[in-house]
């Protein structure tokens, strides 16, 4: 028997953040929605019906009037809700396919190699199951390479009425039709500047890129573009990534809700970010040997004095101990804090990550005490059971004054017992 040709599906959620906001708000089914970035700064997501009126990235204060004029509802970003809904969608899809790779919060690649039956029908069943279980609409693109699956998905979205949200371009005739009718700028990984270069060479459509000489593309541009062209021509070069490969760095950085001028609240913020970063570190089962703590003022306001500084900390031994790391981080902040500035942001970066027992520096090098591991396990299980931040270092406040501005935040419908959806039986 000959081995079946590799086949991929890219499933992505339509206007994901806006769709999440609608799950528990059936009253907003026909109301256009935008979601704002951290601190309610600018628009980061729009429902379909909001797209004609609001640009992506538009600052909130500039479009307030437009929003009320068109009856568009704004939400602060509720990542607890989006993360949880994403998990539901991904779990459902993973249960339906042989292999998968979660590509982002709202996209997942699936391995459909050898999947029996009609693939469009299968794509529709994915769509229906996800819609039923979560009420989140998804689009499905199916093809023999990941890059083509991405294009198929794009087509499914663009011609929603015609396609019902599922497009299978495994058939070479359909594939070529899509390639001819897709601008090269829409191809996965081809950005604005590259597009200009390609157009100057007469490469306008995705088809032109598929037919371009791969060797020339590698010589003139990069091996990445060469691979893209080969994938467009139907040769699979990208496999599903190993989803379990742990991250090499962990970063937790956020803007403060207001500018901070005093040391104490900045220490609180850094302690909070450290706790979060350490939690991520433990979740992937790693230890870290170095941390980098940095703080900075706003960099764009010409009337404000600018300052940015960071410091690298060498920890005594590879660790995932929140308390030790918090101590080190707050000490570091004391060292780099300067009076007289208005600080806007802090960042905690964990570096030099290792797996436990991976290697020891030398025989006499210190290692993390056993009891610390037990303490952190207990900490994580208490926080998993009762909610993040139930048990925390005393430097981490419950309701910080420097927290993010989130004036239009929806409830934590799925992650907080006290904020569940209330349904009336009147």
């Amino acid at each position: 028997m000959r081995t079946p040709e590799p086949t991929f599906a890219l499933v992505d959620c339509n206007s994901f953040y806006a769709s999440c906001e609608r799950v528990f708000r059936p009253d907003l089914a026909k109301t256009p929605i935008v979601v704002l970035s951290n601190n309610d700064g600018c628009v980061i997501a729009r429902s379909y019906d909001a797209k004609p009126f609001v640009k992506m990235g538009a600052p909130y204060f500039q479009i307030k009037d437009t929003l009320s004029q068109h009856g568009i509802k704004a939400f602060s970003s509720n990542y607890a809700l989006y993360g949880q809904m994403s998990e539901r969608v991904m779990t459902l899809i993973e249960s339906m396919v042989a292999g998968s790779e979660v590509y982002s919060i709202d996209e997942i690649f699936c391995d459909l190699t050898g999947q029996p039956g009609d693939l469009t029908t299968f794509g529709r069943s994915i769509r229906e199951r996800v819609m039923m279980a979560t009420s989140i609409p998804v689009g499905v693109g199916i093809a023999h390479t990941k890059t083509l699956a991405k294009l198929a998905n794009h087509t499914a979205k663009r011609l929603l009425q015609h396609t019902g949200g599922v497009v299978d371009i495994c058939d070479p005739f359909k594939r070529d039709w899509v390639l001819r009718n897709m601008a090269v700028s829409e191809v996965w990984g081809v950005g604005g500047r590259l597009t200009a270069h390609l157009q100057a060479m007469g490469i306008q459509s995705a088809m032109d890129l598929a037919k371009a000489d791969p060797v020339m593309l590698r010589a003139k541009f990069s091996v990445v573009l060469e691979r893209t062209a080969r994938e467009l021509a139907g040769v699979s070069c990208l496999a599903l990534d190993d989803p379990d490969s742990p991250k090499q760095e962990i970063c937790c950085s956020r803007m403060f809700g207001t500018r901070l001028t005093k040391l104490a609240p900045i220490k609180e913020a850094v302690a909070t970010y450290t706790a979060r970063a350490a939690e991520k570190l433990r979740a992937q089962g790693s230890l870290c040997k170095k941390m980098r703590i940095s703080i900075k003022t706003g960099m764009f306001n010409p009337d404000e004095a600018k300052y940015a500084n960071g410091v690298l900390i060498e920890l005594p031994y590879p660790t995932h101990d929140t308390l030790l790391m918090t101590n080190a981080a707050t000490y570091a902040v004391e060292r780099i804090f300067r009076d007289g500035y208005r600080y806007s942001k802090a960042e905690v970066l964990l570096l030099d990550l290792r797996q436990p027992g991976e290697y020891t520096d030398d025989l006499f090098a210190l290692t993390q005490p056993k009891r610390c591991e037990q303490l952190m396990n207990t900490l994580d299980s208490i926080n998993a059971r009762w909610g993040r931040g139930t048990l925390r270092a005393a430097t981490v406040p419950i309701a910080p004054d420097w927290g993010m501005r989130r004036e239009f935040m929806s409830q934590s419908y799925t992650t907080r017992m006290d904020q569940l959806w209330k349904v009336s039986a009147h």
Partner: protein
């Protein structure tokens, strides 16, 4: 009121031990052969499944069905709503908890409290079934 003892269920993240057994040094526990798995309400209610949601009830229109204000209901979006199911529905955009009835070709959202009339779904109404109520949980602590 009669009740049935539940058998053993598979364990999950929050185990309630059926019985604890400490093994004394030297002697094998006679209970070891009869050791059972843990009961898990998570698994009984399938609460980690992607199609299951927790919802809080407000109001008295479903008292007759044993649903009271403050009750927690476990809602299943993975099943088709049938005649007689208690459902969470969106009626013209407003979420409500009622019992679904099919009468011929008519759909009715029925309350379980004489004070509330049945709501016949008209052609001009827009109704979608959000999910089917499977279980309910109430805190019985006295005051």
């Amino acid at each position: 009121m009669s009740f049935t003892i539940l058998g053993s269920l598979a364990s999950s993240t929050i185990p309630l031990p059926l019985f604890a057994c400490r093994v004394p040094a030297g002697f094998p526990s006679p209970a070891a052969d009869h050791f059972e798995k843990h009961i898990s309400l998570d698994e009984l209610f399938d609460i980690r499944a992607p199609h299951i949601y927790l919802v809080k009830i407000e109001g008295d229109s479903m008292n007759g069905a044993g649903l009271f204000t403050g009750d927690l209901v476990i809602v299943d979006r993975g099943r088709e709503a049938r005649h007689g199911d208690i459902v969470i529905a969106a009626l013209n955009g407003e979420p409500v908890c009622k019992r679904l009835h099919h009468k011929g070709r008519e759909l009715i959202l029925q309350s379980e409290n004489a004070a509330y009339p049945a709501r016949y779904i008209l052609e001009s109404d827009e109704m979608t079934i959000w999910g089917v109520v499977r279980y309910s949980v109430r805190d019985h602590a006295y005051a």
